[in-house]
């Protein structure tokens, strides 16, 4: 595979050879009222990684081909898909993944200047009440409140040296999801969909699984396409009711009625097109209705969890009230990835990990809701041989202070937001498990060893999918934009080699 964009002539040839197929959903930025011509679209792609994405474009838009053809990535790579377990609120790294005996030893004392809270929102050092143990052959450490995930220690790589640039949720979420502290940019999922296209033409490349109780902090921006074409926006699938908004009418229609309506529409549109030869946009429009029909079947089928055995359902905790909700989304994620969806993001209502008060109890509760389902997801992916090609990515927007926050006198201690050092973990998709990478200081305050900026993590994830963060670009606002933007992003080699 080449990783440079081919010259314009090549693009032209490919385009003209296959032009009759460019009919369906077009992942192409279009100017108002006037679809940018195919040539423009291609040169737009050409500015980034041209011919390779072109493959996606053409394959994806082939109205006749039912063979699921994935786009060629920039280079051979292990991962075909990502499941992102986004942990809104900022999980407490010192209670979960980054053991700090020193912190426990100095519990309750005033921190020295080098780790004191610079905003003075928290005060004394607070040790973790949870015991850490080593798991697996590797001896990777996890705290006792995540026994199911810990079983996969040898598949998991914990990055303990993450840091971010903002102490407030939304800004830190934009950094974690879109690579910069700035609203309105495309998310990692959107970039992935843009780079790889879809493997299953009847399902979106990027699916978001929001909590049925309601949106997480930052709402629909968590799966935004930003200024990438709308085609790459995450499609929210729901676990209750119809899987996608407007997939079915509010008042059900019988098959006969539905079919007659679609026949009429097709007839109207065909007739309209017949007197406007050469208007590709109209072909594409007709194809969207066909695809909508196919998506109705494919999405409904993908999310029909009754097809799963009782054993699998129990594995994910669907038989328990506490684990049912997150377990359902984990199981949906596996079924979607199995069907060729490229990027699935799982979310929880609001921000459960935001433990300003009662940190210990609430962190434990979050684990009770998610640990078994996440463990099950890893087990299930492994059993089905999907783990090698599916990168599972767990983490939030920041960690939590090693110092205690007390919201009002008498309140049980919590921990505040903490951007200077925190942990995330990766598994599968070619990630070398059983290791931790980088370190915070003795208090879990600041990442000091192998400091890892978000851009490094993003570049590494894209790399595992066969995408080069420097060539995956989109021209916008007068410049070639990329996920890692101005950052000097480096691959985390230790995780992938």
């Amino acid at each position: 595979m080449v990783d440079k964009c081919p010259d314009g002539t090549d693009i032209g040839i490919v385009a003209s050879e296959q032009s009759e197929y460019i009919t369906a959903e077009r992942p192409v930025s279009m100017t108002p009222f006037n679809p940018i011509s195919r040539r423009n679209a291609l040169s737009q792609f050409g500015s980034g990684f041209g011919g390779l994405a072109l493959g996606t474009l053409l394959n994806e838009t082939t109205s006749t081909a039912h063979a699921m053809s994935s786009a060629a990535p920039h280079f051979e790579a292990p991962a075909k898909a990502v499941i992102q377990l986004y942990m809104h609120g900022g999980p407490s790294h010192v209670d979960l993944l980054d053991p700090k005996p020193v912190l426990n030893r100095f519990d309750g004392t005033i921190p020295p200047d080098e780790v004191a809270d610079d905003e003075k929102r928290t005060k004394n050092l607070m040790g973790s009440p949870f015991r850490f143990r080593q798991y697996g052959q590797s001896g990777l450490e996890f705290s006792e409140i995540q026994p199911y995930v810990a079983k996969h220690a040898d598949d998991i790589a914990v990055v303990r040296s993450m840091f971010t640039e903002h102490r407030n949720h939304e800004q830190a979420i934009w950094m974690a999801q879109t690579g910069m502290i700035m609203p309105g940019r495309p998310t990692l999922g959107a970039w992935t969909a843009f780079g790889l296209g879809t493997e299953n033409r009847n399902l979106p490349a990027f699916v978001a699984l929001p909590d049925p109780d309601g949106n997480s902090v930052d709402g629909i921006r968590n799966w935004s396409n930003g200024w990438l074409p709308p085609h790459y926006q995450g499609t929210a699938f729901r676990e209750q009711g119809t899987p996608v908004a407007n997939l079915h009418p509010n008042q059900p229609r019988s098959r006969a009625i539905e079919d007659a309506r679609m026949r009429l529409l097709r007839r109207l549109n065909d007739q309209h097109l017949a007197s406007r030869p050469g208007e590709e946009e109209l072909d594409a429009r007709i194809e969207t209705f066909e695809l909508a029909g196919r998506m109705q079947l494919a999405a409904t089928d993908a999310l029909d969890l009754s097809q799963e055995t009782a054993y699998t359902q129990r594995l994910y905790g669907l038989d328990h009230e506490t684990t049912k909700s997150y377990g359902t989304r984990c199981l949906m994620a596996r079924r979607l990835v199995e069907r060729g969806v490229r990027f699935v993001s799982l979310f929880m209502f609001q921000q459960p990990w935001d433990t300003h008060s009662n940190n210990n109890e609430r962190t434990k509760q979050c684990c009770q809701r998610t640990d078994q389902p996440v463990g099950a997801l890893l087990t299930d992916l492994r059993q089905r041989g999907l783990l090698d090609s599916t990168l599972v990515f767990w983490g939030g927007e920041f960690g939590r202070t090693p110092t205690a926050e007390q919201q009002k006198p008498g309140a049980v201690f919590g921990r505040d937001h903490h951007p200077y050092g925190f942990s995330v973990w990766l598994a599968g998709g070619g990630i070398k498990g059983g290791q931790h990478y980088g370190a915070t200081d003795d208090f879990g305050h600041r990442a000091v060893e192998n400091r890892t900026q978000t851009a490094n993590l993003h570049a590494t994830i894209l790399h595992q999918l066969g995408l080069d963060h420097e060539t995956l670009t989109w021209h916008h606002n007068g410049r070639d934009e990329r996920l890692t933007d101005v950052y000097d992003a480096r691959l985390i080699e230790k995780l992938i080699t």
Partner: protein, 869 residues
């Protein structure tokens, strides 16, 4: 596995002191000694290592080869702290002790006392001799003479034809009248023509029938709604502050939207339109009016309302943000950055934001120019002295009115409280009469005991007393509504009560309240604008004065002199607005003309409306662009004149549907149709699509202006924001929320604002198909549409539906498959109904209506409805 031990445990100090007892650290006393001990072997002297000299407080922000050594109040992201905390520095010899690291960290976090602004900035491009076309004023070329003179209706055609003919192309034949009617209606007012309008136009035989049509559309109030929406996109208009999750509503934002609609409807000259939006307060002399006039004149109110343009940037600030560390750099500066980006991209088509961090890579815009322009807005937006967004507003009132109101309202408050105590007194008087009367109804012997029991405090009542109270209190001292209904039985009570209540109501109505506007206005006192190194507010550089892009060739220079001390407003924005709207400004007229052209043809003469710079697309017709720009200015910056010019050209009127031969020739020579050898078929944009569906189904609420229509929202499956009373207003009045947009509008590419939108996407995706087929709006509209055609066209409802939706009658072939569809569906519905109930007067046969509703639904989902030829 091993945990990295970076802090040395032995040095963990038990004798720590609490923060509040700690004295402030200074550079001289606390920090310099550490640098002397550990760093100056390299980082001092004439040629310090990496260019970084640590011995002088003035050199720390200037920094070295890797940039600023520190960020004020942000140790964790300061290069200096990064290097020492990781022990990367010093590279040899003893590392800093934890205590020394702690001192430097605290010193930086407490404000890096002693540090001076950086002195050197990115001057990499002292710009001279700029060649780029758009940086020089437009030159009006002579209208060319071309062959095919019969196709030239106005100069636009001459310019277009000349370029077509050079490539052996020509204009397509003119479109038919019906097509022109629909195209003009959608282009100008964003609504389909009604059957009556179709009939009237088609039968209008006057030679100027078409010009009359254009005039009628331009004078429609719906014109302003349509074209305001285009401007609101580039202005970045939104009705929530919402870059943060709470998506705080901006209850006054719609007044700016209404201002824009009014401006388009009244064809406000574009130069005035910009001046008002940038400096309406200074232009209309708001402060003088405020101080000296009895009441604010309309033009002043209009002026301050227009500055809402400068308030569209996301601004999540709240009063409590002042407590956040570095709030200016984290929250306030971004609003200022966005504002400048909006101003420059909307009015000048420049991607100025690149120059925030470094001199522009492509365009001749040095970094310092960015901050000179930022200084224009700095007198109003002051990151170091920020006014929370909800408090940044002006009353529509003069000082006299405000004072009079305060006086009157104080009087009203006094009267109200007197009346309220009168009311209480009245009630008390009659309540005690009631008590006595009811007590008198009881046996004489218990009266005194009850009276005593009730009089005594609850805790010390005897058991007997308690029983008495329990038994009689309710009767003797009724509460609330029971008391009220008992009292009205008394003579005189009702009369006095009503009288007092009336007085109270009258009094309360006397209270003076003033409308407010979300405006931008200067804060008194001098403002300072530092260049920010790498665009970072925590590494400030030298101060700059207000100015503009120095490389733009403008006949009139930017002129501003500082006002007298104590002036209410600095005049900076007005100076900028005047500079921007000078007739020969290289960009202002061109950018607007291009934008209007783009909305009529699908592509601009410059295909990148947001980028007239070096990396933007060059104009397809440079002379036409300049001719239009100068014509625009000559006509007094009249936008309606520009529409007339374009819409009466043969270039605009040509057909989008062309012969195979014409198409082949065109596609070969000019595949992107940049030369306009045919008109472009356009998809309705989000708002026009929704508005059209509501129009054809007869349920559009055509009310103009006013507060926005809410978007319903759910949480935990419950509706937390309900649908308003009338959900059918035009889309420009549907609340523009950043985080929770209307889903149908969003699916059809209405931008969700993060900054602004200079050019929309037009996507074709399957979620649109689902929205059309199953979405709430079209489903509802379909039912109404069916009812409408069955009522209005009882003889020929199918033909009526076509006429309303497509402005034409069906052909015979169409009649036949539509009839077949209707019959089939009617039977199907009937058979489905039959399974449940038989038809009676209570259950009429609705099958035919349902079938019609499906027909109407499909018409509104079809390409002929979605696209304009």
């Amino acid at each position: 596995m091993r945990t990295a031990g970076v802090l040395t445990l032995a040095l963990l100090l038990p004798g720590v002191v609490a923060d509040d007892e700690k004295r402030p650290l200074t550079f001289e006393q606390d920090v310099l000694p550490i640098f002397r001990a550990k760093c100056i072997r390299c980082h001092a002297g004439v040629e310090p290592k990496a260019g970084l000299n640590l011995t002088s407080p003035s050199s720390l922000l200037t920094g070295g080869m890797s940039g600023a050594a520190l960020r004020i109040r942000a140790a964790e992201s300061s290069l200096l702290y990064e290097k020492i905390s990781s022990d990367e520095m010093p590279p040899i010899g003893q590392k800093l002790t934890p205590r020394q690291k702690g001192i430097i960290r605290r010193w930086i976090n407490d404000g890096a006392q002693g540090v001076h602004n950086a002195v050197s900035i990115d001057q990499s491009d002292a710009v001279t001799g700029v060649e780029h076309w758009s940086f020089h004023p437009p030159i009006r070329a002579a209208v060319p003479t071309v062959s095919e003179k019969d196709r030239v209706r106005n100069p636009v055609d001459a310019f277009a034809l000349r370029q077509l003919q050079r490539r052996q192309l020509t204009l397509a034949p003119g479109a038919d009248r019906l097509t022109l009617l629909r195209r003009a209606s959608f282009d100008l007012i964003g609504l389909p023509p009604s059957p009556d309008e179709v009939k009237q136009f088609i039968s209008d035989q006057r030679p100027d029938a078409y010009e009359r049509l254009i005039d009628r559309l331009l004078s429609s109030a719906h014109y302003g709604e349509r074209w305001a929406r285009h401007w609101l996109d580039v202005a970045g208009f939104a009705e929530t502050a919402g870059i943060l999750n709470e998506d705080l509503g901006l209850p006054l934002a719609w007044k700016y939207r209404d201002y824009v609609i009014r401006a388009f409807n009244s064809d406000k000259p574009y130069d005035r339109f910009l001046q008002e939006q940038i400096a309406g307060d200074e232009l209309t002399d708001y402060w003088t009016a405020f101080e000296s006039m009895d009441t604010l004149h309309d033009d002043v109110v209009e002026g301050i309302t227009a500055t809402g343009f400068l308030r569209t940037a996301a601004d999540p600030s709240r009063p409590d943000f002042s407590e956040i560390k570095n709030a200016a750099s984290q929250y306030f500066y971004p609003t200022l950055f966005d504002t400048l980006q909006i101003v420059c991209s909307s009015t000048m088509g420049l991607t100025i934001q690149c120059a925030r961090c470094h001199s522009h890579k492509f365009d001749p815009i040095p970094q310092v120019d960015y901050y000179r322009m930022q200084a224009v807005f700095m007198s109003a937006y002051r990151p170091d002295d920020w006014i929370p967004q909800m408090e940044r507003r002006l009353l529509i009132a003069s000082k006299k009115e405000k004072q009079a109101a305060e006086q009157r309202n104080a009087e009203v408050d006094k009267n109200v409280s007197e009346l309220q105590s009168d009311l209480e007194e009245l009630k008390k008087t009659f309540a005690s009469r009631l008590f006595e009367d009811r007590l008198a109804e009881l046996p004489t012997e218990v009266r005194d005991e009850i009276r005593a029991a009730l009089a005594i405090a609850t805790e010390i009542r005897t058991d007997t007393q308690r029983k008495l109270v329990a038994k009689y209190e309710e009767r003797l001292r009724p509460q609330d509504s029971e008391l009220d209904s008992a009292l009205v039985e008394y003579d005189g009570y009702k009369y006095q009560l009503d009288r007092l209540n009336t007085q109270l109501a009258v009094e309360k109505r006397r209270r003076w309240k003033f409308d407010e506007v979300r405006a931008l206005y200067d804060i008194p006192g001098e403002s300072k604008t530092p260049v920010l190194l790498r665009g970072d507010a925590l590494t400030p550089g030298p101060l700059v004065k207000p100015g503009v892009i120095s490389s733009l060739e403008t006949p009139e220079a930017f002129e501003w002199t500082a006002p007298d001390a104590g002036a209410k407003t600095s005049g900076r924005r007005l100076a900028f607005a005047r500079w921007l709207t000078q007739p020969d400004h290289p960009l202002t007229a061109r950018v607007m003309v291009n934008r209007i052209w783009m909305h009529h043809f699908g592509t601009g003469l410059v295909a990148t409306p947001d980028d007239f710079g070096v990396s933007g697309s060059p104009p397809s017709h440079p002379e036409l662009l300049d001719w239009l720009a100068t014509e625009f200015v000559r006509s007094g910056w009249s936008i309606k004149n520009l529409h007339r010019l374009i819409l009466t050209s043969a270039t605009w009127q040509q057909s989008s549907r062309v012969s195979a031969q014409h198409r082949q020739a065109g596609e070969q020579a000019d595949p992107d149709n940049r030369l306009y050898w045919r008109q472009t078929m356009k998809r309705l944009d989000a708002e026009t699509l929704r508005d059209s569906a509501l129009t054809v189904s007869g349920i559009l609420n055509r009310e103009l202006y006013g507060a926005s229509q809410e978007i319903p929202r759910q949480q935990y499956g419950k509706l937390i924001v309900p649908v308003g009373e009338n959900p059918n207003r035009r889309s420009v009045y549907v609340k523009n929320q950043r985080l929770y947009p209307d889903s149908m509008l969003q699916v059809f590419d209405q931008p969700t604002m993060s900054v602004n939108c200079v050019q929309r996407n037009t996507s074709t995706v399957s979620t649109q198909a689902l929205t059309l087929l199953n979405g709430e709006i079209l489903t509802r509209a379909a039912t109404a549409f069916a009812d409408r055609v069955l009522a209005e066209f009882p003889e020929d409802p199918t033909g009526g539906a076509y006429l309303i939706a497509y402005s034409r009658r069906p052909g015979s072939d169409e009649y036949s498959f539509l009839t077949q569809f209707l019959n089939e569906l009617t039977m199907q519905y009937r058979s489905e109904q039959d399974q449940t109930k038989s038809h009676t007067a209570d259950f009429p046969d609705t099958a035919r209506q349902q079938a019609f509703s499906d027909l109407c639904h499909m018409l509104m989902s079809s390409s002929e409805f979605l696209y304009v030829d």
